[in-house]
Amino acid sequence: MELLPNITINHYLLVSVALFSLGILGILLRRNAIIMFMCIELMLNAVNLMLVAFSKMWGQTDAQVFVFFIMVVAAAEVAVGLAILMMLYRNMNTTSTDVLDKLKW
């Protein structure tokens, strides 16, 4: 069945790109580590969306499997990342990334 006769792949690409840019903008603008994390998740999701759209276009399942595994990795990454963030908070008593400037000249 054809649900979206007038929606082209371009639309999906546009949406995906917009979400991706928002994610990048979020990383650049925010300094709270947790918010930055969430922006990374947003970026990953934008990519997922684009992959699924292409999968529908070509009619193959490979892209969806890829999306599946991206989700797997994202989950694992969030778990470990939040654990690191906890340690950061324990040492610095703040979640702002501005305090992480010891690796400088």
Binding site: G23, K56, V65
Partner: protein, 167 residues
């Protein structure tokens, strides 16, 4: 017809809730708006007939990852305003960089003119659970198994990292 409206609606919701997420100062609001974004993306998946993925998306992302985020935020008691003033030119530069990136990417994806219509005659069913399962367990079995190892590593790492040092 209706689905077209649905598409546009979902896109706007996704976009604006993402924008709200990065603008708001309150981390809890951020998390909640991100959940909203995820739901709208799951809606997109439904429109694209990727049913399994839509379900998994909601369960994993909105149900597990975001909850984890909420746990951390509440544990660290971050619902107060904490961020210092950023320099204006930094913000401006970031917006400019983000905007340029947006336009560059758009320019790149513009090239795909010939693939205009999502019309795959025999591919409409590719998102069904059955087909996806077949692909997963036949062609991509090893990565599937390795994913479990990955999870094991992540679990061990997370537990180890967050242990308190015994004084």
């Amino acid at each position: 017809m209706l689905t077209e409206y649905a598409f546009w609606f979902l896109s706007f919701v996704a976009f604006f809730s993402a924008a709200f997420m990065i603008i708001t100062k309150n981390p809890v609001y951020s998390v909640l708006s991100l959940i909203l974004t995820f739901f709208s993306i799951a809606g997109h998946y439904f429109l694209l007939n990727a049913q399994f993925l839509a379900a998994v998306h909601i369960i994993v992302y909105a149900g597990a990852i975001m909850v984890l985020f909420l746990y951390v935020i509440m544990m660290l008691n971050l619902n107060t305003l904490e961020e210092e003033k950023k320099s204006t030119w930094m913000k401006a530069l970031s917006v400019v960089a983000g905007g340029i990136l947006l336009f560059v990417l758009l320019g790149i994806v513009r090239r795909t003119d010939e693939l205009t219509v999502i019309a795959a005659a025999n591919g409409a069913d590719c998102g069904l659970v059955e087909n996806l399962g077949k692909a997963l367990y036949r062609d991509f079995l090893i990565p599937f198994e390795l994913a479990s190892v990955l999870f094991l590593g992540a679990m061990v790492g997370a537990v180890y990292l967050s242990k308190k040092e015994l004084v």
